[in-house]
């Protein structure tokens, strides 16, 4: 089954699968965080426009389209 070459030791598949899920979960959480700072207008944060306005200057100065 294994297609790994002898010169390159690969992590066995159980560890690989767990790493894959950890990586996917991490990317999802960090993307959500980025969304909350850069794009949310209350739809996800459920804070109305409060978070949007609190981070307003940061959004403009980070170069994200704001208003």
């Amino acid at each position: 089954m294994s297609t790994s070459t002898s010169s390159q030791p690969l992590v066995h598949s159980a560890g690989s699968t767990r790493l894959l899920w950890t990586v996917l979960a991490t990317v999802a959480v960090l993307s959500l965080l980025t969304y909350l700072v850069a794009f949310d207008q209350g739809a996800v944060s459920r804070s109305g426009m409060y978070l949007h306005e609190l981070m307003h200057d940061g959004r403009h100065l980070l170069g994200v389209p704001c208003h």
């Binding site: 990317v27 965080l33 306005e53 307003h56 200057d57 100065l61 980070l62 704001c66």
Partner: protein, 257 residues
């Protein structure tokens, strides 16, 4: 786990280093933005509010008159925004680092960290910026915000694809070729994707005719500077943390004599 300690640190270890580097770099970028950018944001908002007294703002519009957060709060919120954004970017950089190091084992952690941060600055910041430069408040039509957001995000993706095309070009020319040929192939791949994206993606001309050109220019420089501080900080801090970590691991792996 102790067996692999000196070769590859676990994902979570690298992730924590990236998040920490990103948070600190984000706060530094916030400090830069506060000093270099806030005066221009204030000036732009003054123009916006002067215009709003002449024209009745549309219902549901982005109105600073009855803001939920005071201007002082928004100036402080700058640090929250850049800190959280920086942490997210540092975490994503750490993730990219782990994914890449699994495919190709490299000897120099710091070099990979700096290269990744440079690639992100070029692809995710500078390429999008030249097509869709940052705008201060009072510039931009609220009616096109969704369209501008989508095209901006697409441009970030295309910028990263351009950097990737550059690295493909670099590797396509064999390592026995002179450096200038590899650099030319890298520049060619990068420019091909960048120029095609610039031509294909729509443009927005929304700067009001009477908006001061120097204020616009100063604001855009401050905005670009904020991102440069952020990514330089992430690259250097991540490289430093990984270097420190590797030395500590190497020392721990040696039998204490």
């Amino acid at each position: 786990m102790p067996l692999k300690a000196t070769t590859a640190p676990p994902f979570l270890t690298v992730l924590v280093r990236g998040l920490l580097a990103g948070l600190i770099a984000g706060l530094l970028a916030g400090a830069f933005a506060y000093v270099a950018g806030e005066p221009h944001v204030e000036a732009a908002i003054a123009i916006e509010e002067a215009a709003a007294t002449h024209v009745e703002p549309a219902a549901g519009g982005h109105n600073h008159e009855d803001a939920l957060v005071s201007r002082t709060g928004q100036r402080g919120g700058l640090f929250l925004a850049t800190g959280l954004f920086g942490a997210a970017m540092g975490g994503l950089l750490a993730t990219a680092y782990v994914l890449l190091s699994r495919r190709r084992r490299t000897h120099d952690d710091g070099r990979v960290g700096l290269l990744l941060a440079g690639a992100a600055l070029l692809g995710a910041v500078i390429v999008p910026f030249l097509k869709y430069p940052a705008n201060p408040p009072a510039v931009g039509d609220p009616a096109t915000i969704n369209q501008r957001t989508v095209t901006y995000l697409l441009m970030v993706v295309l910028g990263l694809v351009a950097v990737w095309a550059g690295s493909l070009g670099y590797r396509a020319v064999g390592s026995e070729a002179p450096t200038w040929q590899r650099a030319a192939a890298a520049a060619g791949g990068f420019l091909l994707v960048t120029v095609v994206s610039y031509v294909v993606m729509p443009s927005f001309q929304e700067v009001p005719d009477d908006f001061p050109a120097t204020l616009l220019w100063d604001f855009r420089l401050a905005s670009l500077g904020t991102q440069v501080v952020l990514w330089t900080g992430i690259g250097l801090l991540f490289a430093a943390l990984m270097h420190h970590d590797r030395r500590r691991r190497a020392a721990a792996a040696l039998p204490s004599t």
